[in-house]
Point group: C2
Chain length 282, copies 2
């Protein structure tokens, strides 16, 4: 399919889609609201099937295609794949699937890391699936082949954040256990390659020391999306504040509490819907 983007006045006011396996992608939404306050946003969280980061590449691709199809059918003008595990497994396939302005969290974070590093020694942390894919290594190599990249999967970070244990001795020790091998490689920049990790930022910074720069993908990703939509003349010209609609495939008990933790505001302003039938998913 050609990548031709149909431009017309009607497209301007279409919403921007964001999907994630869970609620972590709301950190990207928070940044979107800050930088593009007049845009409508459709957020999709696959809470019934999360987490993705412990599953096979094949499975993650299947889920990611279904989520993209769902948002595409709602008539979005651009899509942010906020889930690192999804992005690392399926960007090439998603680009072929729909002629849409598509942004992931990996390339923008990789660019940011390359521009921030002083000695060219970049660390990356993320889920098992993201680390196995070597998506960050490949992205950095494309931009700056001489960089040294060191990666570490941190499988307990997501459950820790979900449990709300963002500080304290236990979390500090777990952070130290995962990050000590990276520090031995004398990294000077560290990419937080999972939307859950920014909630552990303070503890991670204390552990790696103030000389290591932490890269959170939300800011660079939204900046990149803004550029792309701007070039395509697809930024809304409306002046009213944009609306956020949240679609979830499940609504467990702690949904609101965890969601508000990521979004940084109350959920009361949000239209909450339930995605009943997602095509293409067995």
């Amino acid at each position: 399919m050609s990548k031709q983007i149909i431009r017309n006045k009607g497209l301007l006011n279409r919403p921007i889609g964001v999907f994630d396996s869970g609620l972590g992608g709301l950190t990207v939404v928070r940044e979107l609201i800050k930088r593009l306050p007049n845009e409508d946003i459709l957020y999709f969280g696959d809470l019934a099937r999360l987490p993705y980061g412990i599953k096979s590449k094949e499975q993650i691709v299947q889920f990611s295609c279904a989520n993209t199809d769902f948002l595409y059918d709602k008539g979005i003008k651009g899509l942010v794949v906020a889930c690192n595990s999804s992005a690392s497994a399926s960007m090439r396939i998603l680009r072929k699937r729909h002629a849409i302005n598509l942004v992931d969290v990996i390339m923008p974070a990789a660019c940011e890391a390359v521009s921030q590093t002083r000695r060219g020694r970049i660390g990356v942390i993320g889920t098992q699936a993201t680390m196995l894919s070597k998506a960050y290594d490949k992205a950095i190599m494309k931009i700056a082949p001489k960089m040294k990249v060191f990666s570490q999967a941190c499988p307990l970070f997501v459950p820790l954040v979900e449990e709300g244990w963002l500080k304290g001795e236990i979390t500090r020790k777990i952070v130290k256990t995962y990050l000590t091998p990276l520090m031995r490689h004398r990294i000077d920049t560290l990419i937080l390659g999972c939307t859950h990790y920014p909630l552990l930022k303070k503890l991670i910074q204390q552990t790696v020391g103030s000389q290591v720069r932490l890269i959170d993908s939300a800011g660079p990703t939204v900046k990149h999306l803004k550029n792309i939509l701007g070039q395509a003349r697809l930024l809304t010209e409306r002046v009213r504040r944009g609306r956020l609609s949240v679609y979830v495939t499940d609504r467990p008990g702690n949904f609101v509490k965890v969601g508000e933790r990521f979004l940084g505001r109350h959920f009361s302003e949000i239209r909450l819907l339930r995605a009943k039938a997602i095509p293409n998913l067995n």
Copy 2:
């Protein structure tokens, strides 16, 4: 639907079905192989959608029905719902759905706890979903209404086991954090209400002290199933060793390692299949 069980010679040699959200139910299979070595077993692990314990009751019911239908269609003579979260949410619905010998892990463990307790103070630990359902409290109240039941969700235990952190200082501290409130209630018996938890048994026992009896549901569950199948004259009369077939909805990288940890033997003896299309699941 009536609960009439059709008895005939052909039924005897049908396999026993076991399902779990993941691989934890293999602890029940391990016990099945020990006590009913000549029975064929069909194991179903919903690795694509796990974990269940953090999801809504409605969602868990939907998954559990789909898993049961899948195994039922394979022609099983009995079914063990090895997943505590599934059992706590959906046993009533599953019983209505199929006229089949159906056993869960909750009632057998509750019976065992009631028979073992000395002072009638029983603790239960499990996932968020299992604890919210109060399934153990209700089961114990049915058997012995005067018992005192104290429960505690331990959301980090499953990820810890999956990560293979079965000992060490961090895991010890997490175990202590969750169990200290229960110890304050002076429990004398503790039900491990999740198939993952027996792998932390040693550490849990050290934390609660040797005077507290730990109840692992695998043994009582298989004993109960054996009774039921025996009464229905459905135990096989074959003398050859039974076969174990494992069906999974996903096959992530650490599948074999984690599976062998639960099963307590190598996976090489197992016919590994992939459940391609599970009906009734969006």
